[in-house]
Every structure is written in structure tokens, then in C-alpha cells.
Amino acid sequence: MCLRIYVAGYGDTLRSIASKHETDVHALLALNSRITDPDQWIDGTHVRLPARANAPRRQLPLPLCPVPDTEYPEHWIPLTSLEDMAQTEYDVLIVGTGAGGGAAVWRLSEQWGENEKRIGVVEAGDLVLPTHGQNIPTFNTARFEQFWHNPLFLKKIPIAGSFSGPEASLVDGYFSEFIALGGQSLIWATTSPRMDDSVLLHFPVPAQEMARYYDIAEQTMSVNAMYARESQLQDILLHRLEKQGFPDAADLPMAVDLNRSDYGLVHSNVFFSSLHFLAMAMNRRQIDLAVNARAVRVEVEKERAVGVQVMSADKQLHLIKAKTVILAAGTFETPRILLSSDIEGRAIGHYLVHHSMLSAAGTVSRKEFPENLGVAGILIPSANSRPYQIKIQGPGSYFWYQFKEVPLREHWDIYLHATGQVQPRYENRVMLDRSKTDEFGLPGLLVQFSYSREDTAVILQMSQGIQYAASAMKTAVTVNGGKLPYGFPGQEFHSMGTCRMGFDPDTSGTDPYGRVHGVSGLYVADNSILPASGGTSPTLTTVALAIRTADDIVEKMD
């Protein structure tokens, strides 16, 4: 028995498919709720067929050669149906496949190898891209943005009331999340700095241990600062920054595989995504993975997690039993699952933070630079005295490109992008909105979020910082009306903190290993556990902590 999905061919209808597969058209209608008319042409649609033991093989016309009795994968990654997963009791079930979930799956696979343990993964999203979007040949910056802004994958979570930005202008604010296998790691900028020591002081994890797990995360994700090496643009801008008050400006650390393919070792996926974690895990051992599988609630018995109720695309609930559950569904979905499961915890859903965000475009004259302009990728890191980071990238849209040439221009845009610290405050929170239900009948989410006076002060500081950096680099920044364009929460993906780690259950959702307070066998491994970040991009730290959480699970279970 396995997941049966039939891709409707030319002229197929649900009725014709039902007869072809000897099943009832009403059963197909129930399984495929998006199709309402059984006689509608539905070519290309992935039609779910009822699972059936010993399904008869389809007769091919004129079978001169015997048809081998093989299960052919339909997709570029092996999938398991929820029906099948419901037959198994997993040692570990991971909910979500973004950076945190992927890292946990990989680490468990690495630690356990091919042993008898069972690892299951459920992902709410679909197969959207098989690699980071910047590895796809047909994307450039513009097309990639057009793709990932598509509301098919990019979901908005509304902010209650009107959102007050730093300029006190009220807007309909929202946060956003990218729902797909691989999650936001399919579209992230791969910026991978470590957090500053002043920030790590707020982590309930010893500094040496953080350093060790940072090492592992960096190695696995091929984090390096070589992307812009030998570029004249980089060298000259860095030099100017160093001379003009930014001595800590440095090569941007990125999760990019810059190796040459040799000895048959192929480096086809430069930009890292969580799919690399899944690939490495699958090459190590068996992993059961279901997509379009939405975790609804965690089942808890006697203060122990025993499994997860998961809803399939046809809205059937399946109980997936597991001794250990790792929630890695993200800063919004993880607390949603916990709150829907009536798991008590004063801090769960609270202390929501993100990074305030400002961007600016500067201009450089090509004449100031020699040949081999190359690219600039610079990070002015977040530090004790600087509660924000500035990322500098250019030229123009050629920071990454393939299958085209860079034209020679008189002027090039250089982009400065700053992300600033937001205070963790109890009142900033995500909560269930029971007045609304989504297409699965699950309660909606609502966010309460505002900036404190300190947050607004950081935004002002950040605005000045950008302008200082731009003038240090001699790049004239375009400033409209004296104010830099401000990014609203939904325009970045640095939401964190809703299950923050800590010792005190009153002010934290999880313990220092990501274990949800008061429930054994239940872990969180995503951005929601980060207790602080300064202005630093969070992914590397989330991955490091997820690896540490996986190690904790391995130690507990062996």
C-alpha cells in the first residue's frame, strides 16, 4: 500500500479516472475537494486515489516486454502517505521541514545511521521547488520574487487592529510565512552570521556549546565568507568602510557551496536550503515524509507526547504515533499547534519579535573601480553597541545571476539592508482567532504586535547607521523626504520568540534543549525558540540549536 496520486492526463475527468481505477466517483470527489464537478477537464491536476492494498497494475497497450513490478517514484523526493504513516509508531516525528526541522532530521539520521529507529516527517506545504530558488536556471531576481510572492505559497497572518509603524502611520499590517517543503529556506538570503556574544548571554546555553554547534551548522550548510572574494567592488567598499568608522565590516557569511565540481563530486546546488538536509538524511537512512500534511494537535497522555493528529489535503485526520515529537513548524504554526493542543504555558505564543527593517539604495560610479568589478557582499554585524546589522549587496540585480552577462554600466546600485533589534515583550503575541477558521476548519491566527519606544529608537539609530555606512562607502543614498523606506513585518521572515527557550516556565515556552515545559517527549526546533537575536539573521542559530536538540533526543533515547 502506498500513497496513490494520479496526474490527470489530457481529457481526464474525475469520472473517467474513477472508472479507470475501478473506484467510486464519490470517493474521488471526497478525496479531492478542490474539484467540484466530476465531469470537468482536470488535466495536470494531482488526483488523490483511495489507498488500496494490492492495487492491480494498469495494463499498458501491447506489452511486448514484461512490465517490471517496481514502484516508480512520481516525485523528486520519496513520499509516504499519511495512511501508511498512521500504521507506524515513530521514535521521532518532526513537524515541518524548514531550516530547524531539516537540521533535526539530518542530525538524527547522522547520529543513528541505519538503525531500527523510525523517523517520520510531516510537512503542511506541497512540493514547490526542488532546490533553493536561486539555483533554478529560469529564475532571475525579478522572476524569483514574482514566484515567491505568490499567495499560493506565501500566507499572511494579520496583525490585530491597525499596525503602527515607526512613523506612526497606521496600516493593515501582517506577518507572513512561506509554506512549502523546505519552507522559507527555499527563498532565504543565505546570510549566516553567528550571534554576537552580547546576544548569546541571553541564551540559556553555555557559550562553548553554542560555539560547537555553530561549527557543525556552518560546516553542514557550507557557510563561508568567500562569495565576493577578489571582487574589486568588495575590496574597495570594505576598505572605505574600515577607514570610515566601520572597522568590523566584513565579508558576508553565506550558506553557499562555491566548490568546483571534480572527481565526480557534483556541486549543483550553490545556495543552501533545507532540502540539502533532507537529501543528506535520505542518503543515510529511511525517512518517511508526507507533504500536504497539516499537524493539528499534539496528543499528550500523562504529560507525555504520544503522537500528532495530522490532517491530509482531503481533510482526513490521522493520528501519527510517536515517542518523541519535534515541532518545527515556525514561529506562527508551532504556537498554533501548541495552543490548539491545550498545552499550557504562560509564555507560549508570547514574546513575539521580529527585526525592524530599513533598506536603501546607493549608487557607485563604475569609473572608480578597476576591471573585475565582481560583487559586493558585506556585513556590518549587530554588536553590543549596535543593535542592528547592515547587509550591503550589489551591483544592481547581479549579486547572483546565471545564464546571462553583466552589462557594462556607468553607475551601479548598491543596496543597504538593515535589520534591527526588537524587544521581547509579553504583550507581543500570536494567538488563536476562533472567530475565523481556515479551509481545514482550524482556528485562524491573529497577531498582536507593536513597537516599544526602545524599538522605535533602534529604528532611528539604524536609519542613521545606514546613512553613515553609505557615506563611508561614497555611495549616494536615495532618501525620500528624509526618511528611509521602512519594511513592514510581512516583508521579512525573521519572526522569532513565540516558544522562547529559558529556565522559567513563566517567561519561556521551552527549556534550554527546546523541550516544551511540562510535557515530556515534546520539543521545538525552529525560530520560535530564539530568546534574543539583536539584529542578527536567525537561521544559522536556529539550525545550531536544532542540531543540539537532536543530539539531546539521541542521548535520551539510546
Binding site: 516508480y72 526542488p130 533554478i136 529564475f139 514574482q146 562569495y227 549543483s268 546546488n269 565582481g374 546565471q402
Partner: protein, 484 residues
């Protein structure tokens, strides 16, 4: 037409529809997105970069993979093989062709280039003596094709297996043994230029084209008939999966549907030509699996990628790769264990004689869902072919002996079609009696109707035909851009 900047894209490539495309009159419509169609599209986009000409591409298959399958992190050799063996992805048309049982098609954007082995040699200069064009005429197009497809002989650079096996071959009767030219972009990512698509596919041509100028693309759009008006090309009639018919107007049509579908479409459209569908050729291939002890090679074993011309036998070639079969295209995401024995796949190949009798034809009463009769193939080996087959076996044994390796599996002749090198059903030539297209790929006597795929090739040598298909498609596109 092209989507506006604010519009969302649902897919990894901008798509139009057959219905929208039927509202436009195109300067050129290309049918098919495999190597020939992709190459022609890119070249036209490049030549007409700054002109208002309208270019459209239609593909009968869906979007399957956005890159060569071997570039994908989640594939390994086993998953890759099974994925493409899935009848959902590969159509095993040879199942109903008793004389050509190994034939298959991948109906998808990019066609078989999503899965090919990337071996990209040129034909030899002397192979052109029966061609209507000379080798020298094709050289600039070969060079452009090699550049675009990143053809390299460095895939096995630094490998001790490669060095040792080549040395043994050279000193044991195969003095010309060298590196296989492979369409693989081995360069590291530097200065912002990303090299994420090591193994070439036609999708890369589409990417270059997209970054050069706009064109319209419709997938799941089946060409059912070439439209001819007063002896001139007027467009193509297409059908969408809901069986709606649309006419897409174009004064120039390039058929790039491959050696099976291009003649099928021509025959179904009633295009006259004695040679259309005839002169089907391919490569006879003898395969063998060979092995040798790991201990004879140094630490940096790497991979072998051998290209072995056969002395005194211009029609044959021997090539091999290893270690076979699971780590030649080896992934960054798993570790390669230390082996005690290395295995290689060796191939000894030569072309089938071009004969009028080997042909495809429409079989009445076998219409597909679009009402087009299916093809049947008449194919046999000539006396010359039969005489050459033992020679392929002899060469194989001599080379394996010369390399100091042993057979793991004795040599065997593969079935017609398994080679994937079918060519010739619209071959180029001067005489309409013995060729379907003129030296630029234009169907004899029909202005505006061109063919740019493997069907135009006269498979006169042992070289894998892909690079030559691309070179000829570029040349056809250049001719069109200069004459339209």
C-alpha cells in the same frame, strides 16, 4: 504575452497559453523544447535581441523538472533512474514497435535533455562527405554549441583511474584514447555568477533566452497540424488538454519534436516529400560491464570518462565511464565508500547504414486522443550493419584487455531504441528524393517550414548526435534571422 512585473508567477518559468498565443501573429513559432528547439529559441532571441519580432514556443508536455535531474539534491542514481522509468514521465513508445522496441520519449519541457548522459563529441570531419554542408561550415556552430553547453574534457581531471586507464589504452592499440567531452559546468561560483546547474539541459537554453528578450511559452500544447496557405507556411494548429483547437499564426515554423514526432506531424499535415520519415538511423551499441581491483589505482581515484577512437575504423568509437554505475555522477550529499573492486560501463558504438527502407509511417486506425494516427517503425539491419556488429564486439574485447580489466558482465548488443540516438527521418540534403530538408533545415518546397532536431541529422559517424543537433539548430536559427 509576458506577465507584468507585479503579477505573480505560479511556476518556475513564465507561461502563456495556447489561447493567448492564438491572438498573436508570430514571426517564428518553435514546436518542441528539447535540445534543438531550445537551441533555436535562444539563438533567435539573441539575434533578435533588440527587434520587435515575436517568438513563441509550444511544448506538448508539462513542466516536470526545472533542471537536469542529476542536478537535484534529493536524487541519487537509484531514485533518478526510477523517477524517469515511471511511465508517467517517460513514454515507452517502443513497446508497440516490434522492430524498434527500445524507443522512448520524455514529454516535458526540456524533453530528454532532463535525463541525457551529456556526452557531446563532434562528428569527425570525414563524416561529412555525404552531407550537403562541410565540416568547416559547421565549426563555428560547434564552437558556439560547446560554449553554451559548457562542453569540457575535464570531468575526470586529476583522477588516477583516468590517467592510468588512458595510458594503458594508448600503449595497447588505442593511441588516440582521451577524455570524453561532457556538457558539464564544473566551474566554481565566483563574482556572483552562479554555477548551480552543472549538468546541461535544454532548460538552460530557455533560461538564456528569457534573460535576453521576451518570448511566449505554452506547455501542454500539442501541435496537431502544420498550417500551409498557398504553398507557404501559415502557422500551427494546436490542441490543449481540454481538446480545444487553436490556430497559432506564424510565417515561420520550426519543428523540433524529435525524430519520431516531427515526421509524424509532417505526415499527418500532408506535407509532401518522399524522404520524410525515411532514412531512420541510430547507433548500434555493444555494452559491457567491466571491473578491476581498486589496488591498482592511487588514492585520488575519482572517476573515469574515456573516449577511445578505434584505429583504422572511423565509423566506430568506444567510450566508457566509471566507476560504474552509481558514482560517476556522484553527489555532494552522500559519502563514497572505499571499494575493493571498481566497475565501469563500456560502450562500443557505430552507426546503422542510412537506408530508405528504415522508416516510420502513420498507422491508420491507431489515432491518439488528438486524432493523430500513431507511428509504426520499419527497421532492420543491412548486410553492412550485420558485418559491423562483430567488429563492435572485437573492439570492446581488445580495449578491455588493453586496460587490464575483466568483464563483470559479458558484452551484449542493446536493442534498437535503447541508444536514444535515433536520427534521420527528416535528413538534410540537396535532392528532395533522398532528403526531407534543404541544407538549412527547411522542408523542401515549403517556404517557412523548418526542422531543427535530431531528425535532420545524417548519422554518418559514431559521435553522439546531441551536439550536432544543437549546432545545426543554431545554424537554422541564424539562417531564419537573416532571411525573414
Amino acid at each position: 504575452m509576458i506577465k507584468s512585473a507585479n503579477e505573480n508567477m505560479d511556476d518556475w518559468i513564465p507561461l502563456s497559453t495556447a489561447r493567448n498565443m492564438s491572438q498573436t501573429e508570430y514571426d517564428v513559432i518553435i514546436v518542441g523544447s528539447g535540445a534543438g528547439g531550445g537551441a533555436a529559441l535562444w539563438r533567435l532571441c539573441q539575434q533578435w535581441k533588440n527587434s520587435g519580432r515575436r517568438i513563441g514556443l509550444i511544448e506538448s508536455g508539462p513542466l516536470l523538472l526545472p533542471t537536469h535531474g542529476r542536478n537535484m539534491a534529493t536524487m541519487n542514481e537509484e531514485r533518478f533512474t526510477k523517477y524517469f522509468e515511471n511511465p508517467l514521465h517517460t513514454e515507452y513508445i517502443g513497446k508497440s514497435w516490434p522492430e524498434y522496441p527500445g524507443a522512448k520519449m520524455i514529454k516535458a519541457l526540456g524533453g530528454r535533455t532532463l535525463q541525457w548522459y551529456m556526452v557531446s563529441p563532434r562528428l569527425n570531419p570525414e563524416d561529412f562527405h555525404t552531407w550537403p554542408i562541410t565540416y568547416d561550415e559547421l565549426v563555428p556552430y560547434y564552437l558556439t554549441a560547446e560554449q553554451m553547453m559548457n562542453v569540457t574534457s575535464k570531468y575526470a581531471a586529476g583522477s588516477s583511474i583516468q590517467q592510468i586507464l588512458l595510458e594503458r589504452l594508448r600503449s595497447n592499440g588505442f593511441p588516440g584514447a582521451t577524455d570524453t567531452p561532457l556538457a558539464a559546468d564544473l566551474e566554481p561560483t565566483r563574482f556572483g555568477r552562479v554555477h548551480s546547474n552543472v549538468f546541461f539541459s535544454s532548460i538552460d537554453f530557455l533560461a538564456y533566452a528569457l534573460n535576453t528578450r521576451p518570448f511566449d511559452l505554452a506547455v501542454r500544447t500539442q501541435a496537431v497540424r502544420v498550417l500551409i496557405d498557398k504553398g507557404k507556411t501559415a502557422g500551427v494548429e494546436v490542441m490543449t488538454p481540454d481538446f480545444k483547437t487553436h490556430s497559432i499564426r506564424a510565417k515561420t515554423v520550426i519543428l523540433s519534436c524529435g525524430t519520431w514526432e516531427t515526421p509524424r506531424l509532417l505526415l499527418h499535415s500532408g506535407i509532401p516529400g518522399r524522404a520524410i520519415g525515411h532514412y531512420l538511423t541510430n547507433h548500434m551499441k555493444v555494452f559491457a560491464d567491466v571491473k578491476g581491483a581498486r589496488s591498482q589505482f592511487g588514492e585520488a581515484a575519482g572517476v573515469a570518462s574515456l573516449w577511445v577512437p578505434v584505429p583504422g575504423n572511423k565509423w566506430g568509437i568506444l567510450y566508457g565511464f566509471g566507476t560504474s554505475p552509481f558514482d560517476y555522477f556522484w553527489y555532494a550529499y552522500e559519502q563514497k565508500p572505499l571499494l575493493s573492486e571498481l566497475k565501469f560501463r563500456m560502450v562500443s558504438a557505430g552507426p546503422v547504414e542510412q537506408r530508405y527502407e528504415n522508416h516510420v509511417f502513420l498507422e491508420p486506425g491507431t489515432e491518439d486522443e488528438y486524432g493523430i494516427p500513431r507511428l509504426q517503425v520499419s527497421f532492420s539491419h543491412s548486410n553492412q550493419d550485420r558485418a559491423r556488429i562483430p567488429e563492435l564486439f572485437r573492439t570492446m574485447r581488445a580495449a578491455v584487455h588493453g586496460m587490464g580489466l575483466d568483464f563483470d558482465k559479458e558484452p551484449w548488443l542493446i536493442e534498437p531504441g535503447e541508444d536514444n540516438h535515433e536520427c534521420g527521418t527528416c535528413r538534410i540534403g540537396l535532392d528532395p528524393d533522398t532528403s526531407a530538408t534543404n541544407p538549412y533545415g527547411q522542408i523542401h518546397g515549403i517556404p517557412g517550414l523548418y526542422v531543427a532536431d535530431s531528425s535532420v541529422i545524417r548519422l554518418t559517424g559514431p559521435a553522439n548526435p546531441m551536439l550536432t543537433t544543437v549546432a545545426l539548430a543554431l545554424r537554422t536559427a541564424d539562417y531564419i534571422s537573416q532571411t525573414v
